[in-house]
Symmetry: C2
Subunit: 142 residues, 2 copies
């Protein structure tokens, strides 16, 4: 959910012409307001969005949507992509139940899976998401 909400928020922001307050994003994305607030904070920490406080404040993308990668966002919100920690590049952690990591068949298999997954996810931008929407004036994304 959290990840999905984050991506939805980014798509909404990418489609918006100006900055938006979290309340407005929540409405468009159909996401619980206060929950989204927390997610936006994480996205900000991650460098995907910027924000302005006070009246008429709001959030906007920190970079062009083509440069915000889905894989990057998922890692920031959900953590590792790999099915097992020993196969993760960014969140590596040794497996308790394996003594010879170099020959571990599970790890080898999951490395392949991770590669496939990260290739796909790191090659997919928020712009790409936007482009998947059928062209129409009243933009409905979901």
């Amino acid at each position: 959910m959290k990840c999905k909400y984050a991506l939805k928020a980014l798509v909404v922001l990418a489609a918006a012409e100006d900055k938006m307050p979290s309340k407005a994003i929540a409405k468009k994305a159909k996401v619980p307001e206060k929950f989204l607030e927390a997610i936006l904070t994480e996205l900000k920490k991650n460098g995907a969005i910027t924000s302005e406080r006070g009246a008429f404040g709001g959030h906007r993308l920190a970079k062009p949507p083509a440069k915000i990668m889905v894989g990057h966002i998922i890692r920031a919100i959900d953590g590792m992509l790999a099915p097992v920690s020993c196969a993760s590049t960014f969140y590596y952690k040794k497996c308790r139940d394996c003594t010879h990591e170099e020959v571990c068949v599970i790890r080898h298999a999951m490395l392949e899976v991770r590669n496939q997954l990260s290739d796909k996810l790191d090659g997919m931008s928020v712009q790409n998401l936007l482009d998947m929407s059928p062209k129409q004036k009243q933009k409905i994304f979901w």
Copy 2:
């Protein structure tokens, strides 16, 4: 963990010449005994293994290891492969926060991810896992 343990158990069984009691599998796979017991029950329900009760009982693969697919096992143990339920073939469930599923950009993107993932996982058998192990007499898989 559960999924990993399940795959490990299957690899152990695939490498074994005869049926094995859960205790022995647990030792080889370095997995908690009682936990593994529960997992083996699930694998049996799923049709991947068979078992014999009583003294000198044990577990064995129900089919040749080349016909036991990793994707199938993961679905049985972990549930859906897809990142979102609306993109799952076997565990489909509508998203509360989306009203127009047909045009949902998140869903479209996640369908692609799911396809990539299931292609990989459904094309990978327990035999394939076994083959990833470097050839040596004392078989150490992890």
